[in-house]
């Protein structure tokens, strides 16, 4: 038996790296990092005795000691060009193993009232601006991986939309992992702040340069102030040998609206946490998710929505398509705090199993401490409808065409309403390609 590389591996790595992290020596930041480090050391990496990790063994990750990636690795420009989404006009920040690459980014025409920058640069040049935000949406570290990210916090994206500004194009954050070789750990931390009345769309994409084994540990903190509208699309499409842990931590203000889509197309082990705090009255959150997992992929989506104030709305709809021996976990926790009357909350999780050996675990968890609320949830795990398959075959579609059409239809409604449409078309194509590649081997 090989040694497991547990938290101590990363604690030691952090101690080696700490002095060279951006703005090291600045007291508040050093404190943030060392508090997170202490947390990581204390709680360790999560194991299955932790209820939130019951169905997700992290053994595949702890088999290897991933080394924190260094800045300055090369990512060919052609790769970035080839990775672009057709017809998507965006302001783009590119990150190489988690480090901002100004040379590969494109901020042409960025209007006034919008800041797009690397976190590292901001920490060096204007740390006072970052100080109030960093960690504010995250709150306490929910588990060891997030603590690991916080202990290394150094680079990532900063997106700030000034009050009242309506951004004309989406902001695209492209994270390319595996640039520095195999076995690298990238640790981006992103901060998105939408000030009062502003509107913007942020697209966060995670891709791999090579079929390297890598570990991405990516955390985004989002603050949506009153009357603002922020849309956040996360697309996880790293290599089938990659590991991805990450989270989205959001605070939503009065009458503000946060819409998110989380799409997982590939990855050996993917765990995404989402914590949405509806802080003030009439705040809204719409969370959609689509995950595809084949082979021995494992996808775990953990959502946690907290209604703190009256008249909040939350909608959650996650769908999964699983084939081969893949496994998916959905844990949807909804908390309605005392006083959050007239909360209107719906949660749905639907899983489609294409093979006998695939497995889905779905766990809704409602905690309601207010007496005048409307909360519903539903979870399903099912197979393709044999009646529908026969119907299509009786029209001349073969087994594969029929199964593919029905699988595509199952996945389609998550993407249906997605804006920008260029991203939607791209994802529909990606989903189809993925089906194309696997449906031949099903049954």
């Amino acid at each position: 038996m090989r040694t497991a590389h547990d938290a101590s591996t990363y604690v030691a790595a952090q101690r080696d790296a700490a002095a060279a992290l951006p703005a090291a020596g600045r007291r508040w930041l050093d404190q943030c990092r060392s508090a997170a480090l202490a947390q990581l050391e204390l709680t360790g990496l999560p194991d299955q005795s932790n209820e939130d990790w019951k169905y997700t063994p992290i053994r595949p990750i702890t088999r290897e000691a991933f080394a924190p990636a260094q800045a300055g690795s090369d990512c060919p420009r052609q790769f970035v060009v080839a990775s672009t989404i057709p017809n998507l006009d965006s302001y783009r920040l590119v990150f190489v193993d988690g480090f901002w690459s100004p040379a590969l980014s494109n901020l042409d025409g960025l209007p006034a009232g919008v800041t797009l920058a690397g976190l590292g640069q901001m920490l060096d040049n204007d740390p006072a601006r970052i100080e109030p935000w960093l960690g504010s949406a995250l709150g306490s570290e929910p588990h060891g991986f997030i603590a690991m990210n916080s202990s290394f916090v150094g680079d990532g994206a900063v997106v700030e939309i000034n009050a009242g500004v309506v951004l004309d194009k989406p902001v695209e954050l492209l994270f390319v992992s595996g640039c520095g070789g195999s076995g690298r750990l990238s640790l981006p931390r992103n901060l998105v702040v939408a000030h009062s009345g502003s509107q913007a769309t942020v697209i966060e994409r995670h891709v791999s340069l090579l079929e390297n084994r890598s570990l991405s540990n990516s955390v985004s903190e989002v603050i949506v102030e009153s009357d603002a509208r922020l849309t956040h699309h996360a697309v996880q499409q790293e290599s089938p040998r990659s590991f991805h842990v990450g989270g989205l931590f959001v605070r939503v203000g009065r009458r503000a609206e946060f819409c998110a889509t989380t799409v997982t197309l590939d990855g050996a082990l993917v765990r995404r946490d989402a914590l949405i705090n509806l802080d003030d009255e009439q705040a809204q959150a719409h969370l959609d998710g689509l995950y595809l997992a084949f082979g021995r992929n494992h996808v775990d989506n953990h959502t946690h929505v907290v209604h703190h104030a009256p008249n909040g709305v939350s909608r959650e709809h996650y769908k999964g398509v699983l084939g081969d021996r893949a496994r998916a976990v959905f844990h949807g926790r909804i908390v309605v705090q005392p006083g959050a009357q007239q909360t209107d909350s719906q949660q749905r999780n639907q899983n489609l199993l294409l093979s006998r050996d695939a497995e889905a675990d779905s766990k809704p968890q409602l905690e309601i401490y207010a007496d005048n609320v409307k909360c519903t949830h539903g979870a399903t795990v099912g197979q393709l409808d044999e009646g529908a398959i026969f119907y299509l075959r009786s029209r001349g579609l073969d087994q594969v065409q029929a199964r593919r059409a029905l699988t595509r239809a199952f996945a389609a409604d998550v993407l249906e309403r997605m804006v920008p449409t260029a991203l939607r078309s791209y994802l529909e194509q990606q989903v189809n390609d993925r089906m194309q590649a696997v449906s031949e081997i099903e049954r």
Binding site: D385, E386, G387, A388, F390, Y391, L392, R393, S394, R395, G396, L397, D398, Q399, Q401, A402, A405, L406, R408, A409, F410, A412, D413
Partner: protein, 255 residues
């Protein structure tokens, strides 16, 4: 066109068809009538190749080839079409997407080039008119939220698009009001052709007033017990199926 000899079939180990013979020539319209449970729908499903229908004896030949060894899609591509008694709702798959894939699968099988989007739409618009359906139905999910009548019209629309050589209509008249019945019948009549055979499976004579059959067969206890021309249907309507049961083998109650 279709030649069935000594067909025996089981569903869930229960014998339903028990020595059925039927000959359908090109261009002919045959009606299969009979009481509930006589095996009418089983016959339709066996011809289309639905899982769960086990043929234990006999043969089904279509244009000289055995159908029974073919998959459902191979049968469809050879030109067999089943209009379902209960058309399936398929959310997320549009009529147009399904039919384009289906029509081109059939064309490819026949060695014809696939239709491009323009030609396909032109054909679809033309055929929609046969069953008085609006174009929006093309873009709606297959049968999803359709009324009973719309579902049956959609079946006949698909028939018209796929231009089969043999169409089996399984209880297409059930659940239709008289106006919808006339529309459906009109669509079927428009598709009558000297090279296309039609088998109408029905409980009632009503449909046959609008689609006049060349032959009428009475199915009871898994066998054809009587055949005649369209007058037989009228007789059945007047007398009911009581005489059928009293004269037929009552060993197994499949009602």
């Amino acid at each position: 066109m279709l030649s069935i000899k000594g067909l025996h079939a089981k569903v869930d180990d229960k014998p339903i068809l028990r020595g059925l013979d039927l000959e359908v020539g090109p261009g002919e319209v045959h009606a299969i009538m009979g009481p509930n449970g006589s095996g009418k729908s089983t016959l339709a499903n066996v011809i289309a190749g639905r899982d769960g229908y086990e043929v234990t004896d006999g043969s089904v030949r279509f244009l000289g080839c055995s159908l029974l060894s073919l998959t459902p899609e191979e049968r469809a591509r050879e030109g067999v079409f089943l209009a379902f008694q209960y058309p399936v709702e398929i959310p997320g798959v549009s009529n147009v997407a399904m039919l384009k894939e289906a029509v081109n699968a059939v064309r490819k099988h026949r060695g014809e080039p696939g239709l491009d989007a323009m030609d396909f739409l032109k054909l679809a618009r033309e055929r929609l008119k046969l069953v008085e359906m609006k174009e929006e139905f093309l873009y709606r999910s297959v049968n999803e939220g359709f009324s009973g009548g719309e579902k049956k019209r959609n079946e006949i629309f698909q028939l018209a698009m796929l231009e089969p050589r043999l169409a089996i209509l399984d209880e297409t008249d059930s659940g239709l009001d008289i106006d919808a019945l006339k529309v459906v019948a009109g669509g079927v009549n428009a598709m009558r052709d000297s090279a296309r055979s039609i088998v109408l499976v029905t409980h009632y004579q009503r449909l046959l007033e609008h689609i006049v059959p060349d032959w009428v067969h009475v199915l009871a206890d898994g066998r054809i017990v009587r055949s005649g021309d369209k007058e037989l249907a009228v007789e059945l309507e007047q007398q009911g199926y009581g005489w059928v049961n009293s004269g037929a083998d009552q060993a197994v109650g499949v009602g």
